[in-house]
């Protein structure tokens, strides 16, 4: 608990800006959804034949898991990609259903005699809508907005996966650092925010249905106007925060966050450009798509990963061959692979230190007989990749007692140390290997291809900013596997601030 408050007080400005981004995402998406859903609901309420398929469609949209929805949107031009825009599109889609549904229900629930009274008094359909139907349906519509906004606060945490910011940043950062304090630092404000939004809208709903109000439509209109002004104002701020000249991306684990920060600081210091950090971007495929669409200008990729996961080429064991073929493949799609940074982050088959010592395990081969009694745990990627589990099992004749438990990569280190699983496939440079007393088994049959870390950047960006290229190339060969493990250890185990770790490391290079 004290650690949590310490974290908040030391990250005050960042917390404020993340809360701001979060509120902005939810407010903007909810307002836009209202602007779309209420007219849609009005339209549908009068035409039963449209209402049913409309709500059915909206229902289906809402059942798509939000992470999957972000995935679908990645390659879509204009509305897709990474960043706040795509997040808004997803959040708007989710907010539509409850509002459409309650608008229809609110209008349908009006006593037909009341509507008929309005018609008989000579109201045009516009007058009837404005003076009778909408005021009577308003409490119901606000109830829908309330549901949409509260759900939106929750969904917006996932938006951090595509670099849209918000409190999800802390949750994802905490997950990659396996640090519950950081997770809570994001989760608690998000929950409080949801409660606050719920309370405010519930109050509004009560106000509206209690009827003890005058000129409520006007009050509501001015409330909406104020909210809209706030959104415009903050989106101005947001526009500034996303308009950096160079966008640096990274995947969603500690090493990538460190490398992303390292690129960003190098560019800011040596090339004198402003940098927009889109760190923590889901996995390899999200980063690759973002780089293709131009949402990010560069990130650090691993040669073996690029060869197999990005370009779907067969696995190869020679580092030079892998590097040059990946460089050529990237060049064909307008991207440049810079020379390797100097370390090879290959998969590391890890076991507990105690097991390794008591059973004298040194290589993967040594572990094959033991594995028949073991339960393994693997990250999502390792199970799917062509250079992952299937080939490993074939190469070594590995068999386990149970099907592997598929879990978040960073959680698997803890799971191994805690005895929940007995063997994992981690990263060779992971700081937790040292921190949790894990032992890497040697890949004595050389199954895993090389995973040399190298910067991949959009060729157009490098051409436009020659200084950027020069300063990035100066990093080539400067980061050893030991350096990387130390950096990861500082972040994952010592919980030190990543920008500071990187600043110290860069200072030590000169």
């Amino acid at each position: 608990m004290t650690r949590l408050f310490a974290f908040w007080s030391s990250h005050g400005t960042e917390l404020a800006s993340l809360v701001g981004q979060h509120v902005l995402l939810v407010a903007a998406s909810t307002l836009v959804a209202v602007a779309i859903a209420v007219p849609l609901g009005i339209f549908a309420a009068r035409r039963p034949r449209i209402a049913a398929p409309l709500t059915a469609t909206a229902n289906i949209v809402q059942t798509i898991p939000s992470l999957a929805m972000f995935g679908f949107l990645l390659p879509v031009p204009l509305i897709g990609g990474v960043g706040a825009r795509a997040a808004l599109v997803v959040l708007i889609c989710y907010a539509l259903l409850p509002i459409v549904r309650t608008t229809i229900a609110g209008l349908r629930g009006i006593d037909p005699a009341i509507r008929e009274a309005g018609v008989a008094m000579g109201m045009t359909s516009a007058e009837l809508l404005r003076q009778v139907e909408l005021p009577l349906a308003l409490p119901s519509i606000v109830a829908g907005v309330r549901v949409a906004a509260v759900v939106g606060v929750g969904s917006a945490t996932i938006a951090a996966a595509i670099g849209a910011g918000g409190l999800g940043e802390y949750i994802y950062r905490g997950l990659s650092m396996v640090d519950t304090t950081v997770i809570l630092a994001g989760a608690i404000p998000a929950a409080l925010l949801a409660l606050a939004v719920d309370a405010v809208l519930l109050w509004l709903q009560r106000m509206l249905s209690s009827r003890r109000r005058r000129r409520s439509p006007r009050a509501l209109a001015s409330a909406a106007a104020v909210a809209f002004a706030v959104v415009l104002l903050t989106s101005g701020v947001a526009a500034r925060w996303t308009s950096g000249a160079i966008v640096v991306g990274s995947k969603n684990f500690t090493e990538q966050l460190i490398l992303g920060e390292l690129l960003a600081q190098t560019l800011e210091r040596d090339a004198g450009v402003s940098v927009d950090r889109r760190l923590n971007l889901g996995g390899t495929l999200i980063c690759d798509r973002a780089l293709t669409t131009g949402d990010i200008d560069m990130y650090v990729e691993y040669t073996g990963t690029a060869l197999t996961a990005v370009f779907h080429q067969p696995v190869h064991n020679n580092p030079e061959v892998v590097f040059s073929s990946v460089r050529d493949l990237y060049a064909r799609s307008g991207r440049t692979l810079l020379p390797p940074l100097g370390f090879n982050n290959t998969f590391a088959i890890l076991v507990r230190g105690s097991d390794a010592r008591s059973r004298r395990l040194r290589t993967i081969e040594d572990a094959v007989p033991e594995a028949r009694r073991w339960r393994p745990g693997f990250g999502y990627e390792f199970v799917e990749r062509p250079d992952g589990l299937a080939g490993l099992a074939r190469t070594y004749g590995l068999r386990f007692a149970e099907a592997p438990r598929v879990m978040d990569l960073t959680l698997s280190y803890r799971a191994l140390a805690a005895g929940q699983v007995d063997l994992i496939a981690g990263d060779a440079t992971a700081g937790l290997i040292k921190g949790l007393d894990l032992v890497q088994l040697e890949d004595n049959r050389r199954y895993f291809p090389p995973y040399d870390a190298a910067i991949v950047a959009r060729s157009a960006t490098l051409l436009r900013y020659p200084d950027v290229r020069a300063s990035l190339e100066r990093l080539s060969g400067r980061i050893s596997a030991l350096d990387m493990r130390a950096l990861n250890y500082a972040a994952d185990v010592e919980h030190r601030d990543i920008p500071r770790i990187v600043r110290e490391f860069l200072a030590s290079l000169h």
Binding site: D111, A113, I114, E116, A120, M121, G122, V132, L136
Partner: protein
């Protein structure tokens, strides 16, 4: 000869389901006259009213309002010249009494300083003290008070025609008698052309200058109360016999 206020010329009307509601219905209402139409539930009484303000259009025949076929009337114009008092529920629940009464004047874009005195005048006309009632909500009124507001609302811009659909149906007998007297007093002052529909013959006798009986979609009789009271037509007698009288029940068997 003056133009009749409302004239039904051989009007036939069929429900979308195909059921015949009005069958060559004919009726002429003179300006300033109160016609009370009686019939059992489902006899087509409400349909008659809705044909006047063009909520419905006849299938054949014609409804003439102030000398013009309702088909030729612009519906919004027509409806604002025809006040409508509905059974029980017609008040807008989200508007105060004063706001309900002011609905049509606002639709007609009256100025606020013209609306306020008019609302006061109307509430006064229907016997509701403005100070006490103007800011109340419909659900804070008794049934009788609600009906008074309904009448005030229908009269707001002084329309020449007033349609009343079972206006006093849901009230207790004392309140109903009180409102009957009130209605006659108001009618003496405003002299509207009124069609009232009711299923209660006693009410029709109490309110109508003429009483009409609708049976199976046709107007089977229409005459002054005194003449109706001695009618021999069995369809009229049935309704007359349904009027409860005290001595009929107290008579020993």
């Amino acid at each position: 000869m003056p133009v009749p206020a409302i004239e039904f010329q051989q009007v036939t009307f069929t429900r979308p389901g195909g059921r015949l509601v009005l069958d060559r219905f004919a009726l002429t209402v003179e300006p300033g006259e109160v016609v009370a139409l009686v019939g059992r539930s489902g006899a087509g009484k409400t349909t008659v009213l809705k044909l006047v303000n063009r909520l419905l259009l006849p299938e054949s025949g014609a409804v003439i309002v102030e000398g013009r076929d309702t088909r030729e009337w612009e519906p919004i114009r027509l409806r604002r010249r025809v006040g409508y008092v509905l059974q029980e529920v017609g008040l807008f629940p989200h508007m105060s009494v004063a706001e309900n009464v002011a609905v049509v004047p606002r639709l007609e874009r009256w100025d606020d300083d013209r609306i306020a005195p008019r609302v006061r005048e109307l509430l006064d006309l229907v016997g509701l003290a403005e100070q006490q009632f103007a800011t109340r909500w419909p659900d804070e009124l008794s049934g009788g008070q609600r009906q008074r507001v309904g009448v005030a609302r229908a009269l707001a811009i002084d329309p020449p025609v007033l349609l009343m659909d079972e206006p006093f149906g849901a009230l207790d007998p004392l309140t109903r008698a009180e409102l009957h007297a009130e209605f006659r007093r108001i009618q003496q002052r405003v002299r509207k052309t009124v069609i009232i529909v009711t299923h209660d013959m006693a009410e029709a006798f109490a309110l109508g200058d003429r009483v009409g009986v609708i049976d199976e979609g046709r107007l089977v009789a229409c005459d002054r109360p005194a003449a109706m009271a001695v009618a021999q037509d069995p369809r009229v007698r049935r309704l007359l016999d349904a009027i409860p009288t005290i001595d009929a029940r107290l008579k020993p068997a």
